[in-house]
């Protein structure tokens, strides 16, 4: 079973848990004490998430020497890092480096087999995504879980639609849904012309942002983004990166998975490099330049030889080669 299938299997429950979680948070905020989650009947209040956010800089997730093997395959070992409120932790690595395995542990889709996984100072073994969501850890996978032909506002609340009125006149609170969608997107810097347009007509970056905004609205404290910029062009990536910065400003902890150091560096506070399942270190931004990051990812010598090889085949004027050469130069400096 692939991770995606696993997520699908538990997806039904995830939505429900997200809904329950948001309602519970709202209740706690109102009463000042926790209450057993109940099936929500009323619209989820807009302030749902703010109650749960710890002060900036507080570690929400800490992992120590965490590891995971699939039978005899050791996919991940000795990984140590932390996710703090109001900070972006970037997880970098090439294909097969173990990035997906790492986030699946955080998301509760897989269990770690070694090390310590601490949430809010308490050691945890998450057995499914539902557990992760209950702790406010939400994952936005690459397929985004949106329905292209449906309007943005219907997508935003899909599976957790607020209703009003008594049956048989019970109906969706459409005005609230449209206003909230607009407001939430605006708060994250996306100014949509019309929340009534099909979400398929949005650009890839905007769609990604709607999916993230939805996770934030439904109670996420930690956002895990699996390669959100992988399929996007330069400009669209910029939109998503700005959005990640915005989420950080709001005090969320973000785990940003990417293989592109140029995307990671501007928004990241902390960088964790994975290579063949091992952590190559966990660095705060202060101790690292973009050139360091790039060369560490590719391995300095490999990068230089690649640059020369490409120069021969593509010509020195190619953008790719120029970028690579700049990286190599930066590393030598």
């Amino acid at each position: 079973m692939t991770g995606e299938e696993r997520v699908t299997a538990t997806g039904k429950r995830i939505g429900r848990v997200a809904r329950e979680y948001a309602t519970q948070q709202a209740r706690e905020a109102a009463n000042g004490k926790p209450e057993a989650p109940a099936a929500p009947r009323s619209p989820v209040p807009a302030g749902a998430r703010s109650a749960a956010l710890p002060p900036r800089g507080t570690p929400i997730i800490e992992v120590e020497d965490i590891g995971k093997s699939y039978g005899r395959v050791i996919a991940l070992r000795e990984v140590t890092t932390s996710v703090k409120a109001g900070e972006v932790t970037c997880v970098l690595g090439d294909n097969g480096a173990g990035k997906s395995t790492f986030i699946k542990i955080l998301a509760g889709a897989h269990q770690h087999t070694e090390g310590r996984f601490v949430v809010d100072g308490e050691e945890r073994h998450l057995s499914n995504p539902r557990d992760a969501l209950a702790l406010g850890i939400a994952t936005v996978y690459q397929d985004l879980a949106v329905v292209p032909l449906m309007p943005v506002w219907r997508n935003f609340f899909l599976g957790s639609e607020p209703v009003k009125g008594i049956w048989p006149a019970r109906r969706m609170d459409i005005e609230f849904m449209k206003q909230t969608t607009r407001k939430e997107l605006l708060a994250m810097g996306i100014d949509l012309r019309d929340v009534d347009q099909p979400i398929g007509t949005l650009s890839g970056g905007e769609r990604q942002c709607v999916a993230i905004a939805r996770a934030v609205y439904f109670g996420a404290r930690v956002l895990i983004l699996d390669e959100p910029t992988a399929a996007l062009g330069v400009k669209q990536s910029g939109v998503v990166l700005r959005y990640i910065a915005k989420a950080r400003e709001r005090g969320l902890g973000v785990v940003f998975i990417t293989h592109n150091p140029h995307h990671a560096y501007p928004v990241g506070d902390r960088f964790m490099l994975l290579r063949r399942g091992r952590s190559m270190g966990d660095f705060p931004k202060s101790g690292l330049s973009l050139a360091d990051l790039t060369s560490m990812m590719a391995g300095g010598a490999e990068l230089e030889s690649l640059a020369h090889e490409l120069e021969r085949s593509m010509g020195a004027s190619s953008d790719v080669v120029e970028e690579l050469m700049a990286d190599v130069e930066g590393e030598k400096r």
Partner: protein, 344 residues
Amino acid sequence: MTATAVADERLARVSPVNRALKRPEVGALIAALAIFVFFAVTTDTFATPAGASTWLQTSSTIGIMAVAVALLMIGGEFDLSAGVMTGFTGLVVGVLTTQYGLNIWVAVLVSLALALCVGFVNGLLVIKTGLPSFIVTLGTFFVLQGIDVAGTKTLIGQVAIQGMKKVPYYDQPHAIFGSTISIGDLALRVSVLWWIAVAAVATWILLRTRVGNWIFAVGGAAHSSRQVGVPVGNTKIGLFMATAGCGWLVGMLLLFNTSTVQAGTGVSQEFIYIICAVVGGCLMTGGYGSAIGAAFGALIYGMANQGIVYAGWDSNWLKAFLGAMLLIAVLLNEWVRKRAEETR
């Protein structure tokens, strides 16, 4: 009702007319108006009260099914057993009352229960096996067709129900399903009111309720819907049951309107429903469409069906006309979908 509250100033230039033109049912509405005008001008009887009551009646029973099939199609599925269901439910009532002397209301309810069971089985098979509903319901279609003919022959020795009118309390269900209401010169069959009611309720569900949201979602992207907590299986099973329920309603309307039903009733109508739904703006691929549009689609069918008779043409022209409508509608819908989905 809320568009103004959240509208952006950049949208001010889009006129309400332009907005309305983007609705999926607009094409069917315009076509219906055109066909009405055409036959009203070219024939004498078409636009008279007597003429109108005839094509409204035809439209009504087709329309109820078309609306149900449209919802199902928006939910991403087909039901080929929908046509034969209208005969099956009527036959059940006919056989149970005329042959076995069962109370007519009990028979009507037994028939409803059987219809819902078939709908449930259709849905369950589609969900559990993951097979295309086209195949699964083709199976139920043939099973029901066989039962209709062979079962009726075996039980009552003929292929049509007779003596319905002599069944005790026949008047009561007849008042609900088979009566005629006079509005001036217009003798309106009660089935027309049922048609309007079904179209209105379906539109309300589709556009205003969370179930409606789920119907669009499961048809548009089942995998994504599941990820965000939409009960995909239940929504689809519910749609199959609703379609079967409408099949029962139409079965009752046909039975109490004519006080008889043939073993072959409803066979081959299933494609008419699908055509009406597509002409009404539903995408064959699911996730997009309109209930009221399917009602317009049925109106087009009813008017063309009767108009061709009034015009004195060969009634087989209807088939050619339907086929052409279907092709035009499919092309139009496909164009709409591309526009809606294209990434800017």
